[in-house]
């Protein structure tokens, strides 16, 4: 299969995996390179978004009868929201001792 099979083929699981991979790579790159605490948090949340996307895609394409993947995705979203709210109040930046 030489060429661009993802563009030619109908939408499937590999498309979403590729999207998740792109998000994960960018988030990891941001985690490794940035020194700004806010951008650090957003890079981390991009990793979580990639995980949520892959959970949902696996749930839809491989196991549509069960909602395990979707439940994990919702839990990940709620965890990310809690982390974000905690950060917005300033606690995590103080905890890490960064950006001060």
């Amino acid at each position: 299969m030489i060429g661009f099979p993802l563009i030619q083929s109908p939408l499937g699981l590999p498309h979403f995996l590729l999207l998740g991979l792109f998000l994960f790579s960018l988030g990891l790159y941001g985690l490794l390179t940035t020194r700004n605490s806010l951008r650090f948090l957003m890079a981390f949340q991009l990793l979580l978004l990639a995980a949520v996307l892959c959970f949902t895609a696996f749930s839809d394409f491989l196991g549509p009868a069960t909602f395990n993947g979707q439940a994990m995705a919702v839990l990940s979203c709620l965890g990310a929201i809690a982390f974000l709210l905690f950060f917005a109040r300033g606690n995590i930046a103080d905890f890490l001792g960064r950006g001060e």
């Binding site: 299969m1 991979l21 985690l31 490794l32 991009l46 996307l53 890490l96 950006g99």
Partner: protein
């Protein structure tokens, strides 16, 4: 509905790139919200309304970051490479396990390019062809992106 996927992919890609590379931090927050909205529409495409609502709530909460004063860059975290390496390793292990257990991983690849005769041909071209033909190239891309991040970090130091 296919249009919805490409729209969400565009939003996700542009939003993620802007989040990491946009110079002004307030703009980066807005790009982050754009990426979350892209994720929301991708979840709609995947028939997951609860997930889509959760991501929408996540995007609304991300607006709170705009109210936070922009902080100057802090000091580097010395253990960053350790955590980055650990996360990459865990990602490889988990994704390998999930893919092998899925229907995608159970495709018969016994007639793969690896079993063909490579004599007289370029090794690197054949290696690329093997990676591409066996659909392992997303993994190769991840390795390349991670290496690129590490090398860039080394150059900055």
């Amino acid at each position: 509905m296919v249009f919805l996927f490409w729209l969400s992919a565009l939003c996700l890609g542009a939003g993620a790139l802007g989040t990491i590379f946009f110079p002004r931090i307030k703009g980066a927050v807005l790009f982050f919200v754009l990426a979350l909205l892209g994720g929301c529409s991708a979840a709609i495409y995947l028939h997951a309304p609860l997930v889509s609502l959760s991501i929408l709530l996540w995007a609304l909460c991300a607006f709170l970051l705009l109210r936070r004063p922009a902080l100057p860059d802090g000091s580097d975290i010395p253990e960053r490479r350790y955590w980055g390496g650990l996360m990459s390793f865990l990602f490889f292990i988990v994704s390998y396990r999930v893919l092998i257990g899925s229907t995608w991983g159970q495709i018969d690849r016994s007639a793969s390019y690896l079993l063909q005769d490579f004599s007289g041909r370029s090794f690197f071209l054949e290696a690329l062809r093997t990676l591409w033909g066996n659909q392992f190239w997303p993994l190769a891309l991840l390795v390349a992106a991670t290496l690129f991040g590490f090398l860039r970090k080394e150059q900055k130091e």
